[in-house]
Symmetry: C2
Subunit: 373 residues, 2 copies
């Protein structure tokens, strides 16, 4: 029987293939989600609200009062009203809707700054959109490099995708870099280029000058969610923030893909955005753990990327090793789940991504088994 060939062409997930080999005794450093529990008071408040109001549809873009709170919280110039926000099913749907809406598959190209979360490229592939990678340099420890990003834009590039804080490297675009990127984009001849910044790790940073392009560049679309900041990966509550014109188009796509976001999840988000500090509350745990993780990395003897944000650490495997082979060796014979770097872009081949939300002694034991490869 027939299928859409674009769906058929997508390969099975390497992450899943590795996760499938996990045993109950494995040290799991492969997870992409927090191990903390969510703040139960918000879930209980939403349950009490549902008992009175039921769980009806909101309008397609999401509950107006929630959108107002989100818009006001981030207060990005030119997109700080409720109408600039669309609530989505996690940041996955936010990114999906953005790529699908902003690009003409017949003409436009997307440029992704890598190493990056593989979903951007997979979505482009599914939508038939041409995409290229700008590989940040291994010998610069994968720091953002604005000049190289600007140089990489081509005549048909219409969307630049930046995940910052970055999964997998934890690298963060700095404020001065966001300004320079905006200036460079505005100076360019030709039609303006959209920037999609995936800010899903923005509450988990260990530096003081994280940069957000939406503060400086008027053609920015922001994707974010409560998944990482509030240990709510399973709540699937994300959003897009965009200027007036694109948001209308984005809401249209969203309305045919999922209709509306979950009303219960929206109520949880409404409570979180209504309590000052609730978005940042779990950040203290990550900052404390981060200091211990950096010490463990330094003690491991492994080469690693200093962790500016998020909850991952990238470590180098021996020169000439293949990251998939190393990940399979680790999971099959050494009891450690780690993600091969290659899935985040060619530039991360030769590396592994480790999550450090498991108990610290497990992280340390995992590092020593990797160091013994």
């Amino acid at each position: 029987m027939g299928y859409n060939p674009k769906v058929g062409a997508i390969a099975a997930s390497l992450i899943r293939a590795i996760a499938a080999k996990k045993t109950p005794d494995s040290i799991d450093l492969g997870l992409g989600e927090p191990t903390l529990l969510p703040q139960q008071r918000f879930i209980d408040a939403a349950a009490r609200w549902a008992a009175v109001h039921g769980l009806r549809y909101t309008v397609n873009a999401g509950d107006h009062a929630l959108r107002e709170r989100i818009a006001a919280h981030y207060a990005y110039p030119g997109m700080n009203a409720a109408r600039n926000v669309c609530i989505t099913t996690g940041s996955q749907e936010a990114v999906y809707v953005a790529i699908k809406t902003l690009l003409d598959p017949a003409a436009d190209e997307m440029l992704v700054v890598t190493p990056a979360f593989p979903a951007y490229a997979k979505i482009a592939q599914l939508e038939g959109v041409a995409h290229r990678q700008l590989d940040l340099a291994e010998d610069d420890d994968f720091r953002y490099d604005v000049d190289r990003i600007l140089d990489a834009l081509g005549p048909s590039t219409r969307l630049l995708v930046i995940g910052s804080p970055a999964n997998p490297t934890g690298r963060i675009l700095r404020d001065a870099q966001a300004r320079r990127l905006a200036a460079g984009l505005l100076d360019r001849a030709g039609p303006p280029i959209w920037v999609l910044q995936d800010e899903i790790y923005r509450e988990l940073t260990y530096i003081d000058d994280a940069g957000f392009v939406a503060n400086y560049y008027p053609h920015t679309i922001v994707a974010n969610s409560l998944s990482k900041s509030n240990a709510l990966t399973g709540m699937r509550l994300g959003w897009l923030i965009a200027p007036d014109d694109p948001i209308e188009q984005l809401v249209k796509t969203h309305s045919w893909v999922t209709a509306t976001a979950n009303t219960f999840a929206q109520r949880v988000a409404y409570e979180i955005f209504g309590e000052p500090g609730a978005l940042q509350e779990q950040g203290a745990w990550y900052r404390e753990r981060h200091a211990l993780v950096e010490a463990a990395l330094a003690a491991s003897g492994l080469r690693y990327v200093p962790v500016d944000g998020a909850f991952y650490a990238c470590v180098r495997i021996p020169d000439g090793s293949d990251s998939l082979a190393a990940a399979l060796e680790l999971v099959e014979r050494r009891g450690v789940v780690a993600i091969p770097g290659r899935i985040f872009g060619d530039t991360l081949e030769g590396w592994l991504r480790l999550t450090w939300v498991a108990p610290l002694d497990q992280f340390e034991e995992g590092l020593s088994r990797i160091a013994a490869l």
Copy 2:
């Protein structure tokens, strides 16, 4: 700035244009959702579960235990195992994923039996898939007609979409018709045709012999959700059931569109599918109301389609009237929100769709104002 032209080409929703004119005094017969409250015990149970387990990601296809319960509940031949179910963000995502996955935009055509929920055609338009309508006959009160459906299949038709019980007409494919449709499809030469049956109103029926194609035809994909049966429109919990081969492809698409469904919503569904009768509990209210609604329709003097299922009634406006003009007249000057038939297919021009979940006296008053048009 540029966009995907397929998104740009989609017109704004007529339903929303009419809803926007609603005032606090309007009689709202335009709603597409229950007015009952959901069964709070399931929401509270999920909140208690979350307090212990958190709300982590499930695997892409959804929680295995929930999928097992759903598969066993419907027990469709060849698709009665957990692996045959994919949990989605409402039936909207289920339908979106099915159309996107099953059809090659370069070669395949989708046939929709109309009058029908407009999303099927809008999704095809968004995906660049050719689509045609098979209009059920007004002079047959829009009954399903299997011979006409089979005759309408063309050489490039690869997906037949049937919503039964139907939104907007409430018509239901009968069991004998489902058998005949399956036999006709199996007898056809050429590559087999997928059938997508949208069963979202299956718990709200007022006849005894509703037909489900998946019982008889091995290339059926089923979409359904808890939205209508359990007054959980805002919970966005839907699913696809499909044979082994297509389900793998469907899960792949789903994993890039929304990653996974909401874990809280999945837990609510797990509780509902674990309590015998919980899916049907609210059906009693609809059956009682249905008898009163049929009496009110008969007394109104309006021509109407007998209601076999769902919670809508289609009524004829005076010959030669335009359904959009009538809906605007009603909302702007007569205080009634009704949906113009034309959005459900050309064959329903000259009709209005009314929802009958509002208080009965309001429904009766709405009917009398429509009769005075």
